[in-house]
Structures are given as structure tokens and as C-alpha cells.
Symmetry: D2
Subunit: 406 residues, 4 copies
């Protein structure tokens, strides 16, 4: 228990922990192997869902362990950011868990956008089936032809045309685009290049099957296609949707992006911390059970110091993230900008180091998919680029730091 | 403001901050230079106190900014560990401040020992003048002839002899031994080699001027004698003190050491965090004011990333320390063992890195004593060995981690 | 040019460099994509060779750019270890090149074993077709059920039975086992548990299609099956081969392993250095061509310092490896033990860092298979475990260092 | 033995090694303690030379172990840069040795300037007594009021006035300025602000006792005044010397600085490598002789890996430096620019890490002046700033790297 825990949070944490322990972990290896068997090829059009995962989703939903990320008491369980954080950590221990509790990226972020900024019709049409877990969604922002770390480089366009908007552009690393149930994307593009800098972009809801949308391929990240979600590349040529699909109105893209920012960052960082804890425990279990040169591996060389370093790094990363969550809840996102950027840099880096250490202790089995370690490694590597490369966030932290001296 | 702040803590923090800002920082450079002028030689018998520091001590005392570290409402201000922590950080910004508020090591730790474990007579004779700031003290534990990282190596002896105990042994790195007002030491030694492991050692109060105590020399740490405190080496030959000078009774050495441990660790770590903040601000100020190759130095190469790394490391180190303090206050030292060891490793390392970065940005002036940076560097380096080398504490963290798997 | 270059080495280097530049790099992306298309699934029995690679192999062979690794003037070109080293580096720039010059692991190591330790019949049967590039081979050493970092843990057995030996055991990470042309393995196992420590093991030639050999699966390394080579897992149950298949005689396993050690280490380290150079150049090209926040990415944040760090690390790693090669050639493997272990630790670590940096600069495209970077990353990660984990080699370096003080 | 060794180099190396082993190391601790006793205060006007060091200098001179750094066969021994390098390493093992062989900075660099660029009269007046070891010298370049990492910031002026030049300006970190025998400085300043960028500066010989030269103070580096050399701060007000004191003529400052660059860099880097070797051996000896928790300290935690890391880092740093020396000798300084900058960054950093590790293993005694470690630490820290901060040299390495792509 720590200073940030509330009774409500502890209550749900206990339930989520039990569910993962009793229902997910015992079948995790088998499900991951089945997924690789069914989906380990790059033809995403043939990707399939695992029936048992659908069963587990229904069970979690029945128990009310569903949409816990949403701070709404009716649609979710009314958990604040700091209250949800330990649940996200727990879910992060398994690559399968977030989906089972309907708490996986990018759907959580997309649901938050619709919840906070969507109008009633948009909510009815898209938020409702997302909250029920019936469909999946995509957030289409990064582009292949420019340095997307600078959002102002964005080239895709969203042009008004009567009651419609016409969309053109290429996007990639659109996570979830390969999912059999993926039906909707939130697409960000340039709607008015002459407007003030932060009013040039818009977000619009585009059904995946709209004419003019072509999925080119799925991208692998460190060899991993992350099926059945996939990281997609697509081209939109003269795609036409009604203006009513624009979220909040044209020119509101950056405003929405800012709002999507804080809690989503907390979520993925806490999941990464859960993954790091899992990796640490795998390292310890393996290191204690295998013997070399007359001793358990864990006692050889600098291994015990590495365990200590991992413990210290994880604990610090967690406190930094919880404190950022506390600031978001209590002071608002604007007073947590340093923290929100800092965790983006710190947490994936800690996960990378811990996973790397665990694989080194695990030996060959750590690189193979017999354990979740290789999956965590790919996730950690992706997170150092996704959501803006670390360097952009370090630039933000130093800019805010220097601003104190003016 | 952060989650750990209380109103009481904020109240004293504001006062301490003002005092340091208004009365210490403006004269700090001058006082440090005067100290070097008066005391920069190794003959500690000639070391002198600076009159202006004595004046500042009286002012702080008058304002009630005195003994704030002590959790007693009458002798101190009744601040908990987590409440005192930000005050210690603030004091750590200046090498001179802790003494001025009567909150400097090792006297704070020694006062805590006397406060918690001393009898009435010991308190009257030694705690009272320490609390009033009239005398200074020493904690004599580390020995030159053995690896003191393993406390069971200790060779000094404390042997019962009628109503007295007779003490023999060599100690070094006894901080404060060169101070003109140093009058008393808490001396730890072996009193019963045949007792159970943690009942073999005792702590005894030994006045510095007791016959048989010979101060051999002061030791420099990275070239710094740390005058007028000094890190002393001494020899005790057949030193005889009444048995009433033994604290808590023979065999209680380890028990007392454990009790001294937690809060003292919080104090020195928070002071180190304050020093790191000061170093960071010096780096930024210098980096913005000096120009090379057409730009402020702060913008060259990877400097801005280094500023961000420093901010992120300091924030994590502070949260780790505050959380350890919160656990000590709320759960007890025994439930904070991992944290108390972790901060010992993390915080001096962060201070080392931040100070090193600041010196590199500062250039030659950073190595010289024109700024507090070289002093902070020596302090950081010492802290990685003092109070047990980092490696011993990493071993503790990993031992506690593995214990979870049994 | 550097001190280690000879005219002969420079001659072949120029030819290899031209071949790679003119014939491999222009089609590399296309061939890698075709390979992924054909072979990106885990069913190795369906893996195919790329006809164009076979064509390139014939061209290289015709030009005499073939078996350059072999220090024999007739079968190879008589290049010493230090002379071949820069050629290996050049080949390492492309994941496809080593095979095209018939210089890829593990076949090179296996050919060296046969060349140095095989008898005439073994050479005729297996070395000749390996040298001609008609078949591929496997080195079966690592086992799934024990910590293989300690070779004495090996459990597989090779038992004499009349004129035959009978082999039992499980092996994995047998690289090349999935290759359509793979026909022979060098299998290491325990032949006499009661012999002196370094005479207990033997190496025996086992045709892949011998009854009792079952290939269980191919293992992915960080998601990469490395098709069409593959890292195989297999089981041998009562596999019987004639005693004439034993290399050098029973009990000679460690002696052969030692002989295989030095040059093979040089080869893979130099290839890794070539990969690091390629990664560095990709980082620079991308960093100069993409713009963010008004500047080429290469100029942002600490990127230029990272380029410098990469250059300095690669140059040091190369000199260390060349110097090890020089010692092997001039003083013998026994006088290069520290160096041979040191490069095993240093070089893959440098490759890991440089590739990671390059990916971070490259952005999303760096993680995907559009560049060789993700492949290099998997290779680097594997090399930190393959051939003994880094930690085992650090233990060797420190043991040799301490031995100087006896 | 390694590839770079020549017979001539080995011959002198054997003699230097014997001299250090037989005559310096046995009295080193005593001499360092005597130096601290005599000179450990900041009043440089009272600093004294140690008679025994003067005796050792005479002995080395008699044996021809004198001015070995100078590539002249008559004035020195005609050793090339790569031949002298191992001698510099050996001398670097002791803080006292370089002076004893008349091979200490900055006198070596100054002698090289006079040797290569001085006219006959300048040589007779200043080079001769420097070569004989009768006087010491200073190189006055860095200034307190600007970022001296950018040489074009230099503010001191050297103005023609009839047959004289008039010099004004402040300099600091002028090493050797406190030495009792220091008589001459090479002063660099701005002589023509309107000339092309690299012809604006000049170097002029200024006797220390010229009217208008005021030594303000000696600077400490990490608490170390480096007596009896000292790092001086001085002011020159209307200092007048004859124009014949200008080296090579006005406007030649940068040309001379370039020429001084390469070999001097090799010398100080090789000395640093020698210091790192010494630190490593001290760590091993202490780590083997002290026991904690039932084992020699060297076997605890990650210590053995640290020993291996030190060995690998030192070996790489040495090869990088020797290779730079080889390029200077064989290809010329202009073809070794990357290497000369790279060793400036790499070697002091390696020394810092190895010394830090050694101190951590040594414990408290490592921080104190009982061993050379604290001195090496101060030297390492200074070297990361002296001769341009590391960051400036990394910028040079990356600039040269990017230039390959134009």
C-alpha cells in the first residue's frame, strides 16, 4: 500500500488481480501460442480472434471489470486517474489483459475523445459499441512522408466541401487497423493552413470501409506484427464523409489532442510498469531455478545488483507516474506538463532496461516467444517512439525548466 | 505543492526558504571564501569558526527555526519525517545552512540517539548542549584496518572493568572531529564477541578530551578537509569511562544503530536533493549567460537533454525519498527497509550526475571553489561510501526482493 | 587505411566492396521483402531460397570471392585472420552478403572444424560440398533444459556401441536448421562423464535425416525467425551413426571447441562492426534528410553527440577486434584469451547501442523491416547471448586479470 | 607486446619502467605526503620544491631518460609519437614521474612550440633551460570572462607598438604558474580582429616577472591546488615586450596551436591510460586483501564485472590512442583529426570511470590522499574540461563524420 491508494481503488485492484491470476495467467502461454499459430503471417485480412479471449471479455464485463479507465460512474466505475493507475499496472503484467477488460490502447484514448468531445450522435454511433467492446478503432496521426515528431509537419488534408469534408493523405503506425473488428478511425489532418498555428488541424471520424480508404499493409515492429491488432499503413484518396463526422468542429484538432494526452499517458506508462514488474519476476524465478558454475544464475556476476537496480528504477518510475496522475486529478493537466512528458521518457526506458536484463538472465528462452519477454521488448521499443520520440519530450521538459528562469 | 505536503510543513518551509534566501545565500560565497582563507590547511588544531555563522545561528534559533529535525514538539517543532523532508531539501541548497539551523550531520543523528535511547543523565549532560548548538559531536564507527562495509568486522573493543568500561581501537572518517566545539563522541565497539551476532556491540559516550584519546589527523575527501568539521582519524588506548556512559546498556549497539538509521537517511538524502536542485539551477543560469559558437551554451550539443535528464532524475529521487519518509512515519522503519536502502543508492548517484553535468557546463569555474559545485561533488562522492557503500545497500535491496519469492 | 592493412587484404577488400555496392545493395530491399513474403511464417518446411541469391552466389564464386575466411591458399585465398577481418566487416553491412560469399555462420565455423580437425573421409563427404556452397550445416550445442552458459551442464549423450555411437538429447538455437539445404550437423555431447573435465565431451557428424532426429520447431529471436536459416529446436532419440563420424575421436569435444573459438569470434564481431557502420550511415542519411521544428533531425537535441559517440565506439570496437586478430595470427589463441572474450562483450553491445540510436533517429520506419535496422537489432540482441552470454565472458576477462596478481 | 611496438620503444620502455619501479614508487607515498605537508595551503608564494625530486630528476637525466617526448635525436632520443606513447603511459602511473623525466605538461607542449616554431634566439633563451629542466613554463590561453571553449571568444589583446607589443587581458587555469621555477609563459591573444578568422591571434613569449603581470591567485580543481605547479589566474595590464618575443610573427597563433595539438594530446591521453592502469591494479590489490561478508571484496556483487569492464575500456582507449599516434606519425595530423578529438573524449572518461570504481572498492582510504586515487580523480575531472570540454570535441567528431556524406 502506498500514499496514493484509496479504498475504491484497492477494491477494484483486488478484483482485477484475482481475475488476471485465476483466469488469464494460467492460459496466457497457450493463448499466445495459439495467436502465433493463427496469426503469424503478414496477411492481416486472414487474422482471426481467439474465441477464448472473447469468452474472458464477457466474464470480465459481467463482473463489472470493464471500462475501468473511464472516469464516468455510469459508463465506467468513476475512478480517478490516480485510482485507475494501479489497475492499469496490473493489466500490464499480461499482454492479453488490457483487451479483456476493454482497457486497451488505442481504443481507450479514442473512447475518451468521444466521451469528452463527441456530440450525442457521434457517441451513439461509435462510443456505445466501443464501450461494449463490439468494435475496435484506430487513431490515424503519424505519416510516413514527414518527420511526425513535429506535428506541424502533418500533410494530410481535411477540406470542407458543402456538407461534407474531403480527406486525402497517407498515415501509418495506425495501431489496431488490422483487427477484424476495426470499424472506425479518428483521423487528424490539416483543415486550414492559414489559421493560427494551433487551429489548423481537425479530427474527423472515418469509417474504415469508406470508399477511398486503402489499407496498404501492416508494419512489423522489431519483427512483431502485433496481430490481431496490427500497425497499419493506409492511403486516403478523396475520401468523403459528412461534416457531422468532424469532432467539435474544424480547427479543434490540437485542442482535442491536448485533452487526449494526460490520462492516456498515465495508462500506457502504468501498463509498462506492470510489464516491468512481470519481467523482473520472470528474471528472479529463472535466475533462482537454473544453475551454472555451481550456483543459481541469480547469484553470478552482477546479477543481484541488476535485480536491485531494476527494483529501484521501477519504484521510481511508478512514483513519478502516480504523482503525475495525482497532479492531473488535483491540479489539472496544465500543471502536470513536465510530469506527463517525463514519464513518457522515463517509463519505457525503465521497461527496456528491465526486460533486457530479464532476457539476459533467461537466456535463449527469453528471446523466443515462450515467455512474454520478447513481446515486452518490442512494446518497450515501440513506446520510445510512439506518442512522440523521447527526444521531443525531453525538449519539452527542458523548455519548461528554462521557463522558470525568465 | 505535492501530495506529501502538510500545512505545518509548508509553514516552516516558507520560513526556512526565506531565511536561506535573505540571510544565507547573499553572504554564502563570502563566508565560504573566508572559511577557506582561515581554514585551508590541514592543521585542524588551528581551525576557527566564522563569527558571522554564529550570528546567523542565533538568529535562526530566535525565530524558532532550530532543531526542526527532531520529532519532539517541545525540543523541536514536532515535525514528522515526511514533514521535515522538504525543509532538509531546502537546507541542502547551501553547504552552510544545515549548521545554521542546528540540523547538520552527524549531530542530528547523535541527538536522535540520545533523544530516543539516552537516559536522563546522558540527556542532561550531552543532549541539552547539542540541542542548544553549544557543542558538536562525533559518531565513531568506521575503522581503518578492516572493511567497515561489513559491520561485523569491527575490531575496537569496549570491555567492562568494574564500574568502568575500557575502550581500545582505531576509528576514522569520524566527521566533525576537527570542529573547535567538538566535545563528545558516540563510540561503537565490540563488547562481547561470544554473544549472539546482533548483541555483540555497544555504544558508549566518550568525551573527546578523555585521556587515551589521540586524534591522529584529519582526512581529506577528494582534496577537501571539510574544515572546520573535518573527517578525523583517532586512536583510543585504554580509554576509561564510567559504565554510565554506555547507551542503553552493553550489547545494544546494533539495536541503537537500527533506530538511528531511517530518519537520518531521509535527512541526508533530502539535503542531497537540495544540493542537486542548486547545481541544476547553477547550470541553467551559467548555460544561459555564456555564449559560444554563436549560441548560449545551454543550447549547444546535448545540453538541453542533460537538463531534462537532471530534472527527471531529481524528481524521481525526491519522490522515492518522500515515499520512504511516509512509510517510516506510517508503517514503521521495518516496512521501509527496501526504500531506506534504495534512497541510499539512488540519491547520491543522482547528485553526482547532476553536479558533474553542472560543472561540465560551468567550465573551469565549476571545478574551482568559486561556486558550491566542487563542494557538492565531494559531498556526493563521500555519500556513495559513507553510511555503507552503495553496493552493500544494493545487496540489501536484492535480498529483500528475492525474499518475496520464498 | 590503418596499421593492420596488408596489400593482399586491401585487394580483396576492394573487390568485395565493389560487389556489395554494385550487386547486393541495389537489390537488397527487394530481396529482403521477397524473403519476408515467401518465408514469413513459422512453418519452416515450406521455406524457400531466393533464386536471385543463388545467382549472386555463383557470380561471387566465379570472381574468386568465395570462402575468403579460410586461411588455406587453395581452398580459400590464404588470408590471415587480420587480413580477412576487414572483408568480414564489409560483408556485415548487408544481412544478405555473408551467404553470397559463402562466409556465413555457422557454416564458416563448421568448415573450419572440418578443415582443421576432420579426417580425409569427413572432409570429402562434408567439407567439399560446404565449400562449394551446395549444402548448409548446423552446430548443435545449446540445450533447452539446462543453463548452457556453463558447458559442463550439457546433458546430451554420445555413447559408444560397437562400431557406432548412439546419441540422445535435446538441442535448440541450432542456427541454420531450417535451411532447405541443411544436411549435416556437428553435434556435441557427453561421451564419458568420468573422464577428466575437458575430455568428457565429443563432437560427432550427424546427417539431419538420420532416423531419430526430430526437428521440433524453429525459434524466433525477438520476433524474427531468421528464415530461411532458422534457429531450430530438435530432439535426438537413440540416433545411431558410425563411429567414423566422430571428429578426432571421442573426448576431443573441448579441444575442438577451443580451436573453433578464436577466428569465428573475429568473424562475427567484424560482421557486427560492419552492421554498426551501416546503421550509423542510415542514421546520418535519414537525420539529414528529414526536418522537424525547422531543422534537419540530426541537429536536434543530442543527436550530433550520439553520432560522435557511435563513431568513437565503433572505432574502438574495431581496433579491439583487429588487435585480437593480430594476436591470434602472431601469438596464438592462447595469448589472446582476454581479447577474444573482450570483443564478445564489447562488439555486440556497441552494435546494440548504435542500432538503437539509428532507429530512434529513423523513427517508425526504423522499427519496420523497410530498413535492415530491425534485423540488425535482433542480430545484436542474439549476439549478446549466443556463443555464451556476455556475463560469462566478463567473468573470463576478470579471471585472467586477477591471475596476473598471483 | 602489441603491433605498435618497435625495438627502440621497447628499449626505453624497459628503462623507464625500471626507474619508476625502483626509484619512484618506493618513495612515492612519502614524497606526496611531504608535498602536502609543505604545500597544502593556498599561498603559492610559499610553495617549495622537494629536494628528493630534484635528485631523481638528475638521475633520470644522467641515464638519458630525459626529454623522451621530443622527436629530435639530439635534444631527445628521436622517438616517434607512437614510440613515445607507451613511455608516457608508464610515466602516467605516478603523479610524480612525468616531471622527473622532464616530460610533464604544459612544459612538453611549450617546448614543442619553441622547437618547431621558435627562432634561434627564442630557442637559446627559453628552450634550452626548459630542456635542461632548470625553469618551468605556462601556456596562457583560457580566460575567466568568456566561454573559452570557443577560442574565437578570446578577449586578451596583443597590440603592436613600434618595436614592442603591448598585452592586456585576464587568463586563468594557467597550469604551472605557481611553480617556484616558473619563468616564462606563452601568451595567446587577439592581435588583429579584422584579419581572416584564423589569422587574428598571436602567441608571444612573456617572462613572468615582466611589469604589469599580476598573479591573482591559484585555483583549486576539486579541492586540489596541485602544488607546487598550481593553476593560476593572472591579469596583464599594459605589459610590454619586444616584438622579437612574438612566435613566428603576428597572426600565427592558430597555426601554432594546431601544430601543438596532436602530439600533446597523445601524451596526456597515454599518461591518463597509465593512471587508469594504476587505479585498476590498486582496486584489485585492495579488493583481494580486504574481506567482508566472508569473501574478498573483489568477489562481492558486481565487482568482478567492474574489473572486466575496466580492462576492456582501458584496452580500447589505448588502442584508439596508439592508432591516433600512428596516424600522426604516418599520415599527418590533418588525417587524424577525428582520432585526436575522439581520444580527448574517450580517455579522460575511461580514467574517470576506472578511478571511481577503484575508490568505491577501496573505501574511505580511496578518497583520502593515502593513495594516488583522489589525485587521479581530480586529474580525470580536469581533463574533461581542459584542452576544450568533451562536448566541443564530440561536435568536431560529428562534424567530420557528416562531412563524409557531402
Amino acid at each position: 500500500m502506498n500514499i496514493y491508494a484509496t479504498e475504491k481503488s484497492q477494491h477494484y485492484l483486488a478484483q482485477v488481480t484475482s481475475f488476471i491470476h485465476d483466469k488469464i495467467l494460467p492460459v496466457e502461454a497457450e493463448l499466445l501460442a495459439e495467436n502465433r499459430r493463427l496469426n503469424h503471417h503478414q496477411d492481416w485480412t486472414q487474422w482471426q480472434l481467439l474465441p477464448h479471449i472473447e469468452t474472458l471479455k464477457r466474464q470480465a464485463k459481467t463482473l463489472g471489470l470493464w471500462n475501468l479507465f473511464l472516469p464516468d460512474s455510469e459508463l465506467g466505475q468513476g475512478l480517478s486517474c490516480v485510482e485507475y493507475a494501479p489497475l492499469a499496472e496490473e493489466m500490464g503484467r499480461s499482454l492479453l489483459a488490457p483487451e479483456i477488460f476493454n482497457c486497451n490502447a488505442p481504443d481507450t484514448g479514442n473512447m475518451e475523445v468521444l466521451y469528452h468531445f463527441g456530440n450525442e450522435q457521434q457517441k451513439a454511433q461509435w462510443l456505445t459499441p466501443l464501450l461494449s467492446g463490439d468494435i475496435r478503432s484506430v487513431f490515424a496521426m503519424t505519416e510516413p512522408d514527414v518527420a511526425s515528431s513535429d506535428a506541424t509537419n502533418m500533410q494530410a488534408t481535411i477540406i470542407e466541401d458543402g456538407d461534407d469534408v474531403i480527406i486525402n493523405g497517407r498515415k501509418w503506425w495506425s495501431t489496431g487497423l488490422g483487427h477484424p473488428n476495426c470499424q472506425i478511425m479518428i483521423f487528424m489532418g490539416l483543415s486550414d493552413p492559414d489559421a493560427p498555428k494551433h487551429q489548423r488541424h481537425s479530427m474527423v471520424l472515418v469509417p474504415i470501409n469508406t470508399p477511398g480508404v486503402t489499407i496498404t499493409r501492416m508494419l512489423s515492429a522489431y519483427g512483431d506484427f502485433d496481430a490481431p491488432y496490427g500497425h497499419g499503413e493506409m492511403e486516403l484518396v478523396n475520401v468523403r464523409v459528412p461534416k457531422s463526422h468532424v469532432i467539435m468542429g474544424l480547427g479543434k484538432g490540437f485542442e482535442i489532442a491536448q485533452g487526449r494526452l494526460g490520462p492516456g499517458r498515465i495508462h500506457h506508462c502504468m501498463r509498462a510498469i506492470g510489464a516491468a514488474e512481470r519481467a523482473l519476476s520472470l528474471a528472479i524465478e529463472r535466475g533462482q531455478s537454473r544453475v551454472a558454475f555451481g550456483q543459481p544464475i541469480i547469484k553470478l556476476g552482477g546479477n543481484l545488483e541488476r535485480i536491485a537496480q531494476a527494483r529501484m528504477a521501477i519504484d521510481q518510475a511508478r512514483l513519478l507516474t502516480l504523482n503525475a496522475a495525482w497532479k492531473i486529478d488535483n491540479l489539472g493537466v496544465k500543471h502536470a506538463m513536465t510530469d506527463i512528458s517525463a514519464i513518457k521518457v522515463v517509463v519505457p526506458s525503465v521497461l527496456s532496461q528491465v526486460v533486457d536484463m530479464a532476457i539476459q538472465i533467461y537466456g535463449g528462452a527469453g528471446m523466443n516467444h515462450d515467455t512474454p519477454l520478447a513481446g515486452f521488448a518490442a512494446m518497450a521499443r515501440s513506446l520510445r517512439l510512439a506518442d512522440g520520440p523521447d527526444e521531443v519530450h525531453m525538449a519539452m521538459v527542458s523548455r519548461l525548466e528554462l521557463a522558470k528562469y525568465k
